[in-house]
Amino acid sequence: MSTLTRGAGAGAEREWGGMGERLRGEEVGLTEPGTMAAAAYELLVLGGGSGGLAGARRAAELGARVALVEPRRFGGTCVNVGCVPKKVMWNTAVHAEFIHDHADYGFETPSVKFNWRTIKEKRDAYVRRLNEIYENNVKKAHIDIIRGYGKFTADPEPTIEVNGKKYTAPHILIATGGRPAVPPDSKIPGASLGMTSDGFFDLEELPRRSVIVGAGYIAVEIVGILSTLGSKSSLLIRQDKVLRTFDSMISSNCTQELENTGVDVWKHTQVKTVTKSSCGLLDVTVTSSVPGRKPTEGVIRDVDCLLWAVGIRWPPARVPRGHRLSRPSWGTCRGGCRFPWQGVQVDAKGHVVVDEYQNTTRRGVYAVGDVCGRALLTPVAIAAGRKLAHRLFEGKRESRLDYHNIPTVVFSHPPIGTVGLTEDEAVAAHGRENVKIYSTSFTPLYHAVTQRKVKCVMKLVCVGKEEKVVGLHMQGLGCDEILQGFAVAIKMGATKADLDNTVAIHPTSAEELVTLR
């Protein structure tokens, strides 16, 4: 593989002028990280998370000289405080669900106790192992690792300064990700007493009393894990449903399932103040304003886990992973400000503005992943990073990620799978008369013999005479694994007739999708 792609990389060097050739000549003897003279790299990557690593490694495979700036452990959000540890905890919680079902399937499990520390230690060990694997992968790819936080300097050419040392390259990739936000104490007194999803992964014990604030997928996933594992959990949401950007069926069903599994969902509710009691626990004062009724105030007492899942912040509000996109003074420029020195435009929310090729507004500077604020998913960042590398170092001018029909799974209980347009989006885009919905609701075979019953709901959104499938939304056992293949077909433009012509696999839940009537 490596020889093959190196060959392709040579072409890229020609394309990008003499620089590549010159670098090639200097390569020998200049391998010690940090000693590289300015402009010696072809690609500088800020951030060793999913997108940065993927872009850096692919560029290196294609023959580029790459340096990666990362102050902390490799792997970014996904590996350290995201997908990976989250899914481990979800799996842990799934065992709690199985334990309810064991007796129904003939197993006698008289005494079952859960020990949070066991899984915390195993999870941490696994994450550390991944950190090492990632670091080794970077080293194996002959990518220089620059330890520290990077920031752009005022130099005329895009330049990054790390620990007082300047680095430059014709291509600079911003892949610094995002960080969960906590409301300022000025808005909600005591808000800073709470934690975020980052803090969730530091918990040493299962909280006895949890309050999760937010209605997005992170809130849903975390409250699901905590509640299933036995923490008395409340979810505070501003409207009456969670996941409001999802299809309405998912939004309603997920809210219902949370309530079914014992999560105390406080609707139309916002936190007013947070105070710490003498025993170190938190009292969370909330206001509930059901439309048409007088607002009421309530207090949730003795909370040992208050977790904000109210969004992700990008620069400039808080510089993710410590990297700085510009000078410290930029905290003042909100709302589509430009940085005169760098010309890297950031939108009102702090996302780096990029075009469909991941170009920022400054030539030679690119951004991928969560820092762009679009489709905040590991595989998206990875794919975008790789596509960019192929464009920059293999001369594939049209190499870019298609952001349509990206499948997403929420590891709720049961899991949610979704791809494409929601019903409302399809109606808005194509008109009610051109949209046909197929849906089903059933109890999966697994639950045929269990006391515990959790239904599965599925919806197919089709448009036009040919009934092209533009959206698939489902929640139920196995939907996490069902979605991927259907996403392939939907991306290919599958129609309802194609689904009808596919033979079912019996007995599965997935077969319900090819037998919808």
Binding site: T92, F98, G417, D498, V503, H506, P507, T508
Partner: protein
């Protein structure tokens, strides 16, 4: 929730498909002949039969013999067109005396009970994993067969009832009778009590499915052995079990018996999972060995004797060593293949041709037999996959062609299937061997990966056999010919890809789809190592 279950029970959704036995691939279908002990007040019983036509014409537009997946689907679809439809179903008790209700193999002695017992076994493994996830569970955990079996049997009975209700709702006349042809339009139905009814019909569909075979030449085989027709209906644990055969039925049964903690041995004379990709088949059995199933390879039994202890002593030949060996078991399960259930149909009288070797009915692309108005669907037909979903689809399409002015034929290409062994194996399209044979090894590209499911890492489970392989044409577009996946939830994973492949998916199209992280299914969209390259196909990192 009750309402929901009821909906499920009565709905078109799951029920109609419940008939496929033992796994994805061959779901030997509808025993066809059915209802051993008719419930006292079965719905449908009260339906008036259509009045006899005064001009001596046939009573029914369609008569279906066999109330399994294919037969019921065909009958119900025909009834949708307002036609007069009848179904004959009768379950001949197994040699061990096991009998069951309406719905055929899948519902009663196939897919459904098999998958449920597979789920039980998965829960058995989950108990072991749970320790690693921080759950302290007092060991050893005991499994009670009768609790599981009772739950499974109750569910199956609810499905039998559901099928009866569906027939009634759709105004399909149901006869709990064994049918045999007396002339091309007339079938003689015989009840358990010997009462005879003559049914005449314009069109007749044979869908009597198949039954497990016994190796009649082995002394004691029939007398002491059981088959998959009996296993799910056992009231007590089968105990230490010898499963003879290398079919998916054999491996699935041995898999779940091992999973619930029974001492289980598979005896196979030749290769496992014949007809499936053999690399995948080897991985499946390799995993079962590591899972605790014992294998006696290249061995075949010669006799079964009953010991005084009531245990069964089995003697076999080991063809590798040329020796004769013996051991005792509580149960001997024959899973040596299935035979079509045509014997009592009296097919010769009406001229319906069968394959002399297999005994299966010869049909054309429109499921027509050698007699113009007689058709056959499902496991009874020659050369068709023995799968519930194909039987259902074929039955429905047949009814649409007969009564709905449709000309659409069943497409038997790219039929996906899943073997529910402890580590599931799902596939669609060509095996690597078949692709090589069809296109030549120079013209195919095989992408593959050994991956580790995230749920295995913390649980410290060995993922050596978690493997995915995609067989593509090598030309520029790289159309996908076959996809093979071993891992958790293979059945759920492969269905959507089967749709993509049916739509003509190519390797680049698959690669264009963003993965879903962290899942097992995403490994398929990340395939990039070719077999030809000889590179290590182990997945590292995200």
């Amino acid at each position: 929730m009750a309402a929901l279950q009821r909906r499920r029970l009565l709905g078109v959704s799951g029920l109609s498909r419940t008939v496929r036995a033992l796994s994805g691939m061959g779901c030997p279908l509808g025993s066809g002949l059915a209802e051993a002990a008719p419930p006292p007040k079965a719905p449908g019983e009260d339906l008036p039969s259509p009045s006899h036509d005064p001009h001596g014409k046939n009573e029914y537009d369609l008569l279906v013999i066999g109330g399994g997946s294919g037969g019921l689907a065909c009958a119900k679809e025909a009834a949708q067109f307002g036609r007069q439809v009848a179904v004959l179903d009768y379950v001949e008790p197994s040699p061990q005396g096991t009998k069951w209700g309406l719905g055929g193999t899948c519902v009663n002695v196939g897919c459904i009970p098999k998958k449920l017992m597979h789920q039980a076994a998965l829960l058995g493994s989950a108990l072991k994993d749970a320790q690693h996830y921080g759950w302290n569970i007092a060991q050893p955990v005991h499994h009670t067969w009768s609790v599981m079996a009772q739950a499974v049997q109750n569910y199956v009975k609810s499905l039998n009832w559901g099928h009866r209700v569906q027939l009634q709702d759709k105004k399909v006349k149901y006869f709990n009778m064994k049918g045999s042809f007396s002339d091309p339009h007339t079938v003689r139905g015989l009840t358990k009590g010997g009462k005879e009814t003559i049914v005449t019909a314009e069109n007749i569909v044979i869908a009597t499915g198949g039954r497990p075979k016994y190796p009649m030449h082995i002394a004691g085989a029939l007398e002491y052995g059981i088959t998959s027709d009996d296993l799910f209906w056992l009231k007590e644990s089968p105990g230490k079990t010898l499963v003879v055969g290398a079919s998916y039925v054999s491996l699935e049964c041995a898999g779940f018996l091992t999973g619930i903690g029974l001492d289980t041995t598979v005896m196979m004379r030749s290769i496992p999972l014949r007809g499936f990709d053999q690399q995948m088949a080897s991985l499946v059995t390799e995993h079962m060995e590591s899972y605790g199933t014992k294998f006696l390879k290249r061995c075949f039994p010669t006799k079964v004797e009953k010991l005084e202890s009531n245990r069964l002593q089995v003697t076999w030949k080991n063809t590798d060593l040329g020796t004769e060996e013996t051991d005792s078991f509580d149960t001997v399960l024959w899973a040596v293949g299935r035979a079509p259930d045509t014997e009592t149909l009296n097919l010769e009288t009406v001229g319906v041709k069968t394959n002399s070797e297999t005994g299966k009915i010869i049909v054309d692309a429109s499921e027509a037999t050698s007699v113009p108005h007689i058709y056959a669907v499902g496991d009874i037909t020659e050369g068709r996959p023995e799968l519930t979903p194909t039987a259902i689809a074929a039955g429905k399409l047949l009814a649409q062609r007969l009564f709905g002015q449709s000309s659409e034929l069943m497409d038997y290409d790219n039929v996906p299937t899943t073997v529910f062994t402890p580590l599931e194996y799902g596939c669609v399209g060509l095996s690597e061997e078949a692709a090589v044979q069809c296109y030549g090894s120079d013209n195919i590209e095989v992408y593959h990966a050994y991956y580790k499911p995230l749920e295995f890492t913390v649980a410290e489970r060995d993922a050596t056999q978690c493997y995915v392989k995609m067989v593509c044409l090598r030309e520029r577009a790289q159309r996908i010919l076959g996809l093979h996946f071993i891992g958790p939830n293979a059945g759920e994973v492969i269905q959507g890809f089967a749709l993509g492949i049916k739509c003509g998916a190519t390797y680049p199209q698959l690669m264009k789809t963003v993965g879903i992280h962290p899942t097992c299914a995403e490994e398929i969209t990340k395939l990039h190592i070719t077999k030809r390259s000889g590179l290590d196909a182990t997945v590292t990192g995200c």
